[in-house]
Structures are given as C-alpha cells and as structure tokens.
C-alpha cells in the first residue's frame, strides 16, 4: 500500500518504459514514477554510447517539477535505445520520439521483436495517424497499439486522448484507459484517427480563426483577448496564448495541420501559417515570451505594450474593462459584440461540422477541448449557455451555412443533455458555512462551504451535529471538500485578528475546535478525510484526527502556523507528537520525539504533493494517494464503507513526554541555527513555545504518560501567549496584505 498509488495493482502495469526523453517523454516517465511505478526512460545513446540524453531528460524533470517527491525520481532508470531489451520488462511502453513516420515505424519494428507479448504500446504523436503508424507491422503489434496523446506538462494537464484502431485488442485499450486514469491521473477521451485528434483540431482552428477575424474586424489584440476571456477561457485569450506557445511554432503546428486536412475542411478558410501577419512576426523574430516580445511585450522599464495589428508597431497596452456577460455582449452588437458572435458562431459551426469525423460523441469534444485548453467548458456547453436556438436563428437570419447538428440542437433545445448527470444527495443538515449530505448506507459527507473552506464558527455546528448522529443515523463519516480548489484553507486570518483582540473569545474558538476534533476522533464511527486542493492549518489538523485519509496526489497539505508566529492549536501539535512517537517514524525516546517534532513543525511544513506530505508525516504510510482528482471521493466512500464493520474508535492517547529535561534537547538544533544566523529571534520564540508544548510543559515527566488532553491545554495556552505578541499581529497583517 505504501509504494504505489491507490488501485495501482489492478491496472496490471507493474513496470513502464518510455522511449524519448524530451519534455513530453520525460514528463510521462515522471508521472509513472509519481504513481510509484518503476519506469525505464530510454533515448538515443550519446557520442560515448552513454545514456546522456535520457539522464538529461530526467534531470530536466527534476528541475521543472515533474516529480512529486525526490523518492519518485529514483524510480526512473535512464538508459539508451541500444538497450531496448529493457522494454521487455514493461507492461506499458510509451513512445515519445521525434514526429517522423519513418523513424517511428522503424523503431516499432525493433520494439516488437523484444517486447513482452500483450504489453500495451502507445505513441504520444500529436499529428500522425494511427493507421499509418501500424501499416506493415505485425498483427500482434496492431492489436496492442494505441495513440496516447498527452498534453504539456504531463504532470498537470489532465487530458489524455486515446486513439485505437479496428484491430485493437479490447484488453490493451482498457489497460491504457485504466492505467491512464489510476496511475497517471488522466481523463481519457476516445478519439477517431484524424489529424490533431480532438483538442488540437478544435483548439488550433479556434486560435487561427479568432486571430484572423480580430484582424479582419479591426480589433486591437487587447480587445480581442478581453472578448475571448469572456468565454471562460484563460485570461491569455488567443494572442497572449500564442505568445506563450511561441509564434515560431505557427508554421510547424498550424502549417502541418492545415496541410493534412482536405481542401473542403473549414480550417482552410483560416490559414494562420500562411497569413502575412504570422509570417511577418516570424521574420521579425517577434516570437513571443521566449523572445521577449510577440503580440505583447514588456519594455525594459516594465511597461506593458501591445502590437498594433495595422502598423505592426508596439504601443502602450490599453486593456478594455473585463466583459463578464457573454450573452449580453453578443446580443448587444457593436464591434466587440459582433466579434464575440463571430468567434462563437464559427467555433460552434466548425465543431458541429467535424464532430462526427473526429469524435464518437459530443461530450468527448467538450471534455477534450476544456481539459486540453483550460476552458471552463467546451464549445457545445458554451453554445448551450447562449442557446442553440439563438445561434441557429441568427445564422439563418445572416444567411450563413447551417450544419445539421446545429439545426437539430435548436429543435431539441440544446446540444448536450446535462440534467441527468448530476444527482444531488439528500441533505441531513446545512447552514451558511457547512453541510452534511446523506451518501446512503449510513455514510454522511461533511463539507465546509465557505470560501476556500475556511473555518467560520458556524462550521462546528454542522460538524457537532454529524458527530452526534454517530450513535444513530450515521455509521461512517467522510470529510470532503466544498469546492474544487480547497478542502479547507484553515482559519480566516482577518477573523482571527478580530478574535485576537479579545483573548477570552479566542480561547473559546480554540477550545471549540479542539473539542470538536477530539470528539470526531473518538466518535464511534470511522471518519475518512477525502482531500483535494488545499488542506492548510486547521484544514490539515482536522485530517490528522481522521481514522484514514484519501488524498489527491496533487494536494497542498500543511501546517504553516509557525510561519505566522503561532502554532497548530486545534490538536495539531498533539497529534503530530503522537505520530512521531511511533518508532517507525525514526525517533526513539521522549526527548528525541520532541526534538524531531520541533524540527518538523518549526518551518511551518507545507507539502505541494501527497508524497511530500507523507515525507513530513502529515499523511501516514497507510493513507491512500489517488492520482485522478475525480476518484478521490469515491475511494474515500469505499474506504469508509470497508471500515464500518468491527470499527473501534481511537482511545484517548497517553503521551510519553520528556518534561523540562527535554527542552534543551528539543531546542538544540534551533538554537544552533539561531546562533549561526540561520533563523531569527521571532522564529526562536516560536521554537521555544513548541518545545514547551511538545515536552509536556512544567508538569511533563517521562515517568508519567501524559493524557492527550493535557497537551492540548498546553497548545491552547501557548497559542494565546503567541497570539498576544505584536510580532504575530504584524506578521498576520502582512500576510493578509500579500
């Protein structure tokens, strides 16, 4: 359970091999390693016959953050394609070499001779057709081969386009689907075998069309990007996005895509690569951000400038006000409204025209484009928001071509029926800050619904209610996020500063959290935390009180309190002490545990992945890590269900504290760092308070195991002392301002 992510065994992929150590190949290899799967990363040998290129690819992934932990990087074994026999150990072999049909086919023939029978082989090609890639290769190869098109960077982009063929083996395709989701965290979209597959076919068309229409309709780049942003796409719009991608790629990507499409394809109306605008930009070296100037640039003084599309000179940037209501913009007309309509109408018309050619169904197109390009929703969902009938009527009124699909959608009322997709759960309790849902089978789901899941006092009303139901209605409780971005960001700093003005109120708030979290821990039902997004401060502390945690691999977990001059005061110090008292975490003996705990907590540990959180003991080895963000809650529910039978609540813990004899030891490292000027005086006061709590205070004694409630009292007292300091207040104010 500790080595690999949740569900890894069932995928049948125990070892992977990636050929080609460029940014895509290296990134895909890193993602296998992030799932705990050993992976060979092979590339051409260097002049000396060594694995220099693969090693460089590995080093680049370490540098750019492709790995979730240093431990993961150790699972990648670099090598050369001279040693292709290593691919024989792999259950999934991903090819990510140069986009050259002959080179790929030559490589496949060599690979086919050594690979394990039944192993899945996939190509990360973004332009070549599957049928051309497998032509002339063995039947077995054809059966096991799919296109697996990842997006850059592979760690963070969720889309995985899969193209299978008529002879494909269902098991091999299913493995790519399943392993792609469970190991790599990707959402697969099955595509037909056509140029650019789905996301890039639509996305590249959209960019070319939006750029050339903006120019034709006389918009500035800022105006066009502001209109585009109102579609719910990233604020870079299209011109900003081209700057980011690199304008030198226009001939390569757009040029080759348009050449591979038939003369009748709608894409031909917008030949971006052949446009005078793009050719001029490339000729002048205005290649975007990497060239320090494209459609936008920053002057050496830091002033922002934009390119005038008519004069082709730079001038100061003029940002139009953000346009929030796309529908009103379109219906309002005018230069910007007409442009918005053109972009929508062309996008929806083109997508409707090619939909049957590129995809098996319409939702696949929306998923691919939204995930591939970071849109809030895909083209059909956008069209449904504006109204299929409105679009059809206006196209008709303007005498424009009407794809059948639009006419049908107008009759039906919409392109995609969404009504049935999201069933809402019955509500057990709810207020402005939190809610308790009934997930069936006696399992409740508790969610904090405040912005970023911050702990308002009302949160505890619903939590207390859930705990009280443990004796009756509820058999298990899942703690889950109330929003996409955050499980819980902890306490609201501004609110906290108000409370700090009145120590009795602050103490009551501290006691409220401690009491609730302890009750949660000792409740006669299993409690499973399902964590996605941020879990910081109190949001992390509540998970420390759960019986089990199911965490998304890309979670941000942490106890940053010491950075603000305070300490984890909702039982966080106590639970971390208990965790570090386990000999398996390395520290033995009460003074050693306190020393280790101070060392760990003082920097305000914050992990940017679940693997890192495990290294910091914020997650246990027994907790689950789930790669796909959409699976976290389902896994948590299933874990909760498994734990109901025979569950015994955690008893109150007794802690082996060192007492005053351990203070000097607990502080020795911090004091040495302070003497050497590596930590400041304010941090030293935090260290002193942490050491006092974690050694059990004045009454601590190694001969008397301390009931955990006593350490929580120490936490509270220390917290109040720390909150009363001017330096703490100033640090918090500065943090809020940031």
């Amino acid at each position: 359970m500790t080595g690999t992510v949740y569900g890894a065994d069932a995928t049948g992929v125990k070892r992977a091999c990636v050929i080609g150590a460029g940014s895509m190949g290296g990134g895909i290899a890193a993602q296998f390693a992030n799932a705990g799967i050993p992976v060979d990363l092979l590339d051409m040998p260097d002049d000396a016959g060594g694995a220099g290129p693969a090693e460089a690819g590995l080093a680049r992934q370490i540098k750019v953050g492709g790995f979730m932990s240093p431990k993961a990087a150790k699972l990648v074994r670099p090598g050369t394609t001279d040693d292709l026999v290593r691919a024989a150990e792999a259950d999934w072999i991903v090819e990510a070499i140069i986009e050259d049909l002959a080179a790929k086919r030559d490589f496949y023939a060599r690979l086919d001779a050594v690979r394990k029978p039944g192993s899945t082989v996939s190509s990360n090609t973004s332009t070549l057709k599957r049928a051309d890639l497998v032509a002339g290769l063995s039947e077995g190869f054809d059966r096991d081969f799919v296109i697996s098109h990842f997006f850059n960077p592979p760690r963070h982009m969720q889309l995985l386009e899969i193209v299978s063929g008529p002879a494909s083996d269902a098991a091999s395709v299913a493995r790519a689907h399943e392993a792609g989701r469970v190991l790599l965290g990707k959402t697969k979209v099955d595509c037909r075998d056509t140029p650019g597959f789905i996301a890039n076919r639509i996305g590249c068309y959209w960019m070319a069309m939006a750029v050339l229409e903006a120019q034709a309709q006389g918009l500035t780049v800022e105006e066009a990007d502001a209109v585009i942003a109102s579609f719910g796409v990233p604020a870079t719009g299209v011109f900003g996005l081209l700057d980011l991608i690199g304008i030198d790629l226009i001939p390569l990507v757009w040029g080759s895509l348009i050449r591979s499409l038939p003369a009748t394809d709608g894409f031909q109306s917008y030949d971006l690569a052949g446009s005078a605008l793009a050719q001029d930009m490339v000729a002048k070296g205005r290649l975007g951000r990497k060239a320090k100037g494209g459609f936008y640039r920053k002057t050496s003084e830091g002033a922002r400038e934009a390119l005038d599309l008519v004069t082709r000179n730079y001038r100061p940037e003029v940002r139009p006000a953000p346009m929030r209501d796309l529908k009103a913009l379109i219906e309002g007309g005018g230069k910007l409204g007409d442009y918005a309509w053109t972009v929508l109408a062309r996008l929806v018309s083109y997508t409707a025209q090619v939909s049957g050619e590129i995809a098996h169904d319409l939702p696949s197109i929306d998923t691919a484009v939204a995930l591939g390009y970071g849109w809030r929703e895909g083209p059909f969902a956008q069209a449904d928001r504006i109204g299929a009938a409105y679009i059809a009527d206006r196209l008709r009124a303007e005498g424009q071509a009407m794809p059948d699909l639009i006419a049908k959608a107008a009759d039906h009322g919409r392109f995609i029926d969404r009504a049935a997709t999201r069933a809402t759960r019955p509500m057990i309790a709810q207020n402005d800050a939190a809610r308790l849902e009934d997930a069936g089978d006696g399992i409740g789901i508790f969610r904090i619904t405040t912005k970023m899941g911050v702990f308002a006092p009302e949160v505890f009303e619903v939590l207390d209610h859930a705990i009280a139901l443990a004796e009756g209605k509820l058999k298990a409780l899942v703690l889950a996020p109330g929003s996409e971005r955050a499980f819980s960001a902890g306490a609201d700093l501004a609110r906290f500063l108000e409370l700090a003005e009145e120590p009795t109120k602050l103490e009551a708030f501290l006691a409220r959290g401690q009491t609730a979290f302890s009750a949660l821990r000792q409740a006669p039902m299993p409690v499973v935390a399902s964590v996605r997004g941020l879990a910081l401060g109190g949001g992390c502390e509540i998970t420390l009180h759960a019986d089990h945690v199911v965490a998304h691999a890309e979670v941000r977990f942490g106890l940053p309190e010491p950075k603000l001059g305070i300490l984890p005061g909702w039982g966080g110090c106590t639970r971390m002490f208990e965790r570090l008292s386990n000999p398996q975490t390395g520290a033995v003996g009460p003074a050693a545990v306190a020393a280790r705990a101070v060392e760990l907590l003082l920097p305000g540990p914050t992990a940017t992945s679940a693997a890192e959180a495990r290294g910091l003991h914020l997650l246990r080895d027994t907790d689950d890590i789930v790669m796909h963000t959409g699976d976290v809650e389902a896994v948590a529910l299933s874990r909760a269900r498994e734990m109901i039978d025979g569950y015994t609540p955690s008893p109150e813990a007794f802690l082996a504290v060192a007492g005053p004899s351990g203070v000097a030891g607990a502080l020795s490292t911090s004091r040495a760092h302070h003497a050497a000027g590596r930590i400041d005086a304010v941090t030293m006061t935090v260290a002193t308070e942490l050491a006092s709590v974690l050694t059990g205070g004045e009454r601590g004694d190694p001969a008397r195991p301390m009931p955990e409630a006593e350490m929580r009292e120490l936490e509270r007292a220390a917290f109040l002392r720390m909150a009363a300091r001017d330096t703490t207040r100033q640090t918090m104010l500065a943090t809020i301002r940031r």
Binding site: S661, A664, A675, A676
Partner: protein, 377 residues
C-alpha cells in the same frame, strides 16, 4: 611495577558520516574488524587478552548495551575475555588506553585491547535524547552541546583569526593528502568489508585551497570565523591497540612501538573546551619528567583549527613536529575512536621518525583535556 607497552596499532579507514563508505556499517562491526586486524597483525591468540577497554562518546542505540563487550564477542574473542565501555566523550579511547595501562601496571592483567569506535552516522552527536539538567541556563547547555560556539570563543579570546585558521586547515589537508599519496597511512589501516565492497582507504582528506576555504560561510555563529572547512568532519571509524607487559612481548616475540611514560587529564571552563590540551599536556609531561623541548612528535586532535592553533601557541609546539601526516580536520574525528588513532599514530611515528618522546593530546567537550606521553621502545 610493570611497564605498559603499546605493542601494535591499527584502525579502520576514517570516512565521512552519512555520505561516506562506512555509513552502512554498525559501529560494533567496525570495532570488531579493527580488533581482528590487530590480532592478525600481531599473531596474538584471543584467549590471551584480559579485557577489551573500549571508548565511545555516545554509547546508546547501536553503541549501547556495553559496546566494548559486544565488539570483543563480534571480533571472535572468547567469552572469557571481558569487555568494558569507557566514556570521556572525545577523549574516550585515550582514556581506554590509560585504563588498560593502569590495570596492567598494578598487575591486574598483562594484555589488553584498548581502542574505541564511533558511527556518527548511526548515533547522532549528543545522542538521541538530549536531556541535560533542566536547571542549567541555555548558554551553559550550549557550552556543552554546541561545541562550534566554543571554537568561536577560543578564536576570539586567543586571537586566532579566520585567515590563520584556514592556513592551519589547509596545511592539515596538504599533509594528509601527501601522506595518503605516499602510502604512509596504508599500513595503519585494516580494510572493512561492506555490502558495496571493500573499503580500504580514508575518505575525508581532500584537495582544497585558501581561496576555496575563504568562500565558506560561518557554520556556527553569525558573523563568526569558524567554517566547515576549519572544523573536523563527522566521521565513522574504529581504532584498536594492543597494550601489554614486557613479559608478554617476549613470550609472543613482539617488537613494541613505545612504552607509556605519562598521562594527565584536566578540566577547564566548558565554554573554552578547546583549550583542554594545554593543562593536560603539562601534567602528562611533568609526570614523565620531561618538557616540550624533549618531545619529538606530537599528535594533537584538530577538533577545530582555532583551538588546535591556540593550544599550539600556548604549549609552544614546533609546527614541524605537529600532526605530520595531517590531523582531524583532514582525516576526520570519530569521537570515541579518535584517541586511539592519536596514541597509535604517535607510537608509530616514534618508530618511523626515530624520536624518543611523543605526545598525544586532545580537547574534550564539556571542558576537559587529555594527554599521554610515550617513549620509544
């Protein structure tokens, strides 16, 4: 009264803690390897050994359970040979030699293995559970457990500036690298088998320069002068010596390296523990009836360049006689194993260089010094 002789000396390679080649080896196995090497070198049967007197600065964890007894058993000594652990922090194995010699002189045995071991990888300096008396104020505790600060205090109080420390450290490295290259260290080393292969050479000495040393940041005190380059590195190693009587030498046809001629321990303020060698050396020389003028070779531990140089000045030591194959800044300082190297090296150098008297001395955390005078045999 009998005379105590140093009949033979060997040690494992000295390698960096954590990143070095011996990091994976338990300290009792390091010690057992050294003892087996010593017996092989001398041909003395194990059942002739009265006791294993074994130095260790932090005898807990893998160094606990009386490591002296365990090391003897692991080395294959018979159960009838006893074993003790001696703790005088950094001075532990000089103390072990002295305790063996003291027993011998009073007739409580005629052959002893003395030495010591420390894996600073596997048992952290200051141990796993630091718990000094809680009534001690923080600065008093710091004098004990942050020895880097005591090196800074000595540098300041005795006027040893950063440039002087770096020149001292560079000389130590250059002497050690030269000795290693000329093969002058090899005959004192017993190689150690590890899972990754045989380790047969010291791992710490390195080529450096004043320029490189000058770029290092102060390691212990903001704005201070002591750096990692002018401090001895954390080290894993063991050393072992055969201490025996004249009769024993004759019976086993052994040629001794030296006789033990004097010994002294002394105390000083914990905050300037690095000055410990001054008083202890004076005591040991006085008891041997000699002065510094009579000494031909000196092995003084270089815990830090600042204290070693300050002691050198106080004791008026000729640099040409001091640590001639390099000191702890270059070779490493495995706490409980260090003293054995100093005594064994002094005895070996008396043979090699042909002098009459030698001095082995070191400073000890907590404010002590230890010194032993040897006379060529």
């Amino acid at each position: 009264m009998q005379t105590a002789y140093i009949a033979s000396y060997t040690r494992t390679p000295f390698t960096f803690a954590r990143k070095g080649a011996l990091a994976t080896v338990r300290p009792d196995h390091l010690g057992a390897t050294a003892i087996r090497g010593l017996l092989a070198k001398t041909g003395v049967p194990g059942n002739e050994i009265e006791d294993v007197v074994w130095g260790c600065a932090f005898p807990e964890g893998e160094q606990g359970l009386n490591i002296g007894r365990i090391t003897g058993l692991l080395a294959g000594l018979p159960e009838t040979t006893a074993g003790a652990t001696v703790n005088r922090w950094c001075g532990s194995s000089v103390q072990a030699v002295q305790m063996a010699a003291g027993m011998l002189v009073m007739g409580a045995g005629e052959a002893f293995i003395a030495g010591g071991a420390e894996s600073m990888t596997r048992v952290p300096m200051m141990g796993f559970n630091i718990a000094p008396p809680p009534e001690w104020p923080a600065d008093h505790v710091a004098d004990f457990i942050n020895v880097g600060l005591t090196a800074e205090r000595v540098a300041r109080d005795y006027g040893v500036d950063r440039e002087t420390q770096e020149a001292f450290a560079l000389a130590s490295q250059q002497k050690a690298v030269a000795a290693q290259a000329a093969g002058r260290l090899a005959d004192e080393i017993t190689p150690v088998e590890t899972a990754a292969g045989l380790v047969d050479a010291d791992g710490c000495p390195r080529e450096t320069s004043l320029e490189k040393l000058s770029t290092l940041k102060p390691a212990f005190l903001e704005g201070g002068s002591v750096t990692a380059g002018t401090s001895s590195p954390m080290t894993d190693a063991a050393t072992a010596l055969l201490i025996c009587s004249e009769d024993f030498l004759k019976r086993h046809n052994l040629t001794p390296l030296a006789r033990i001629a004097g010994f002294g321990v002394s105390g000083c303020a914990p905050g300037i523990m690095g000055m410990g060698p001054v008083e202890s050396s004076r005591k040991a020389m006085k008891r041997a009836g000699i002065t510094m003028n009579d000494i031909d070779v000196i092995e003084m531990n270089e815990a830090f360049a600042s204290q070693a140089e300050a002691c050198r000045r106080e004791l008026e030591i000729d640099p040409a006689k001091l640590n001639i194959d390099g000191g702890a800044i270059a070779l490493g300082h495995p706490l409980g194993g260090t003293g054995g190297r100093l005594v064994g090296k002094t005895a070996s150098l008396l043979q090699r260089e042909g002098g009459r008297y030698g001095l082995a001395t070191q400073c000890i955390g907590g404010g002590m010094g230890i010194a032993m005078v040897l006379e060529a045999a």
